[in-house]
């Protein structure tokens, strides 16, 4: 198997009050390296749950999630943290930037966590800031930036350590149309440049124009799995 992520009959059941709510019904999917794809569906369809399972932030009730043939269910908390630190980049709907840090420090943060010295990675961080077009905002804090600029910082933070997989949960949901297009364009360019796989969860139709593969979810089940063909249309 050369897939970066394999999902094998994954089900997730949440306890809501006295009742069980099944968020995912035995889903199976394979995701190849460098993918640029989305999970599409209405609220409650299981998109975010699926992203969280791939990100090792949550555990499936049954079934397994593999990252490059490593079964995440067999990793303990510390190993899961290392898995996220080494391999993943997260982009959140509400950006989740660290509020007391500047643009530069937010992007630097994952590299410091990985044990790097600032002097050794300063150039990489500045290049990444440049890649997302925020060189003139480098000293500002998140509260001084627009939503689009915050999301650019989040993207830069996710990509700076050059992970193999980026998980983006509704990355355009809080952005206006122009910012959404800019962000999607940016992510597509970075996908080509860094070869990282991007998986979005979204119900934003604009995303469909950019992704190469679209997995439709409804009530925790896969309804369709479309891939873009050579002519650029989905099949």
């Amino acid at each position: 198997m050369n897939n970066i992520v394999s999902i094998d009959k994954v089900a997730k059941v949440f306890r809501v009050g006295d009742e069980d709510f099944t968020a995912l019904h035995e889903i199976s999917l394979d995701i190849e390296p460098g993918a640029f794809m989305s999970f599409v569906g209405p609220s409650g369809s299981g998109k975010t749950t699926l992203l969280n399972l791939i990100g090792g932030l949550d555990q499936p009730t049954s079934g397994s999630v593999f990252f490059k043939n490593v079964k995440l269910g067999e990793l303990n908390r510390t190993a899961l943290a290392e898995y996220r630190r080494k391999n993943l980049g997260f982009i959140f709907q509400t950006y989740n930037l660290l509020p007391v840090y500047s643009v530069y420090e937010n992007i630097l943060f994952p590299l410091l966590l990985d044990g790097n010295k600032e002097s050794a990675v300063r150039r990489s961080v500045l290049d990444m800031v440049d890649s997302v077009g925020l060189s003139d905002q480098i000293k500002k804090r998140p509260s001084q930036l627009s939503g689009g600029q915050c999301q650019r910082v989040a993207i830069a933070r996710a990509l700076v350590k050059k992970p193999e997989l980026i998980l983006a949960d509704e990355p355009t949901a809080n952005l206006d149309a122009e910012n959404s297009f800019q962000i999607l364009e940016l992510m597509r360019e970075l996908n080509k440049q860094f070869k990282a796989a991007f998986i979005f969860s979204t119900h934003d139709e604009k995303v469909t124009k950019y992704v190469n593969r679209e997995v439709g979810l409804e009530d925790g089940r896969v309804c369709w799995d479309k891939r873009r063909n050579g002519s650029g249309s989905f099949e």
Partner: protein, 389 residues
């Protein structure tokens, strides 16, 4: 790395960090201030008793009991030479007898207390008696405390009739002149007490050179015909009162610490509550649970240390100012508690240290416990801000 991140997080929190530090620092100051004020009250009470009455202990004529006035006349003796030879700064001889005043034609029973006017051991404002000769003349000079004067309706310069009995039981009476009305910090040597020269009272009662007790600076060894009563024995009732009071003070201290702890807990838990999403983000970025817990605990510890520093700074300034003015308790002048000057703080290092240790521990504990709980749950709950609700 964690230390640098923690310092950056803490130092850049702005008003939230300032509030956190201030709440904790003020809580510490409030607790120490209250307990020290209480200590001050008790210490001044004891000090006043020693300063004005007890000194370093009394050599008393065996059987003398200040609470049995009817026996005072039977319990006197000549002052032993070994005590009489002590310098004025080391002994104060006193003779205590019963008497009756008749101010405004009313009878007022009083304790006649003759004191050696040359003594400097006890701090008594009796200079008004010094200018009179050793033999009592037609009129008896006396000094009254303010409370005594108020109750007897007497003022400086007034005369009234004083009646007493001499050593043979013969009743005698003479005019008394109030030469001075003085403020006594110890109401026990004010209310009901008429201060006379010792030689005058000895002369009046035909008890030449006799005393009821001799207050001394320190124990002089056994003296024949006298029994030594130590300070603790002489102020046993006050110590007993203080002992009981101390129990209440300790309960009060615990309540204050509890309140301060709740204040700190509330501020700190709110801080963690508001930062749940940040905790989730840190975990998503790959921080281990131990690192996140360590980070927040370190931040809490930094806040605690800064709080101690601020508390010491503000507390020193506040306490220094307070020691220069004191707490006015003149409203207690009517009580029998032997203190009515301004109360000053009496700071016990043990209480300061334990207050700091407890509050700092609460702060660190509250930084550690909820974060530990959050990191043991799914990071998704923290990311949604629902790990602690």
């Amino acid at each position: 790395m964690i230390f640098n991140i923690a310092w950056k997080n803490f130092s850049r929190q702005g008003i939230r960090a300032v509030l956190n530090v201030m709440v904790t620092a003020l809580a510490m100051i409030a607790v120490v201030f209250n307990i020290s004020l209480y200590n001050g009250f008790q210490a001044q009470t004891t000090r006043n008793m020693i300063r004005t009455d007890v000194a370093g202990g009394h050599y008393r004529v065996p059987g003398f009991d200040i609470l049995s006035p009817t026996e005072w006349e039977d319990v006197t003796r000549k002052i032993p030479e070994s005590l009489d030879d002590l310098p004025n700064a080391e002994r104060a001889s006193a003779l205590v007898q019963q008497g009756q005043l008749f101010p405004n034609r009313r009878l007022y029973p009083v304790q006649l207390r003759g004191i050696d006017v040359h003594q400097t051991l006890l701090d008594l404002p009796l200079d008004g008696l010094k200018s009179y000769g050793e033999r009592v003349e037609d009129i008896i000079p006396a000094v009254l405390g303010v409370k005594m004067a108020q109750k007897a309706h007497l003022k400086q310069g007034d005369t009234t009739v004083l009646k007493w009995r001499d050593r043979h039981g013969v009743v005698d009476a003479r005019d008394l002149l109030v030469v001075d009305v003085v403020t006594m910090v110890n109401s026990r040597v004010d209310e009901g007490v008429l201060w006379l020269r010792l030689d005058h009272l000895q002369d009046m009662t035909q008890r030449q050179n006799e005393i009821s007790w001799v207050a001394v600076k320190e124990f002089q060894g056994p003296v024949q015909g006298m029994e030594f009563q130590e300070v603790d024995e002489l102020i046993a009732d006050i110590l007993n009162l203080i002992e009981n009071d101390r129990k209440y003070a300790q309960v009060f201290w615990v309540i204050l610490i509890f309140l301060a702890g709740i204040g700190v807990f509330n501020t700190q838990i709110l801080n963690v509550f508001k930062r749940q999403k940040e905790i989730g983000t840190l975990m998503a970025l790959g921080m281990t649970s131990a690192q996140v817990v360590g980070l927040f605990t370190l931040e809490g510890s930094m806040a605690a240390l800064l709080s101690v520093f601020v508390a010491l700074l503000l507390g020193t300034a506040l306490f220094a100012w307070f020691q220069s003015v004191g707490l006015d308790i003149s409203h207690l002048a009517e009580s029998t508690i032997p203190v009515h000057e301004n109360i000053l703080l009496d700071i016990h290092s043990g209480e300061v240290v334990s207050t700091i240790v407890i509050i700092v521990s609460v702060m660190v504990l509250v930084s550690w416990l909820p974060v530990r709980k959050i990191t043991r749950l799914d990071p998704t709950l923290a990311l949604r801000g629902r790990a602690i609700t």
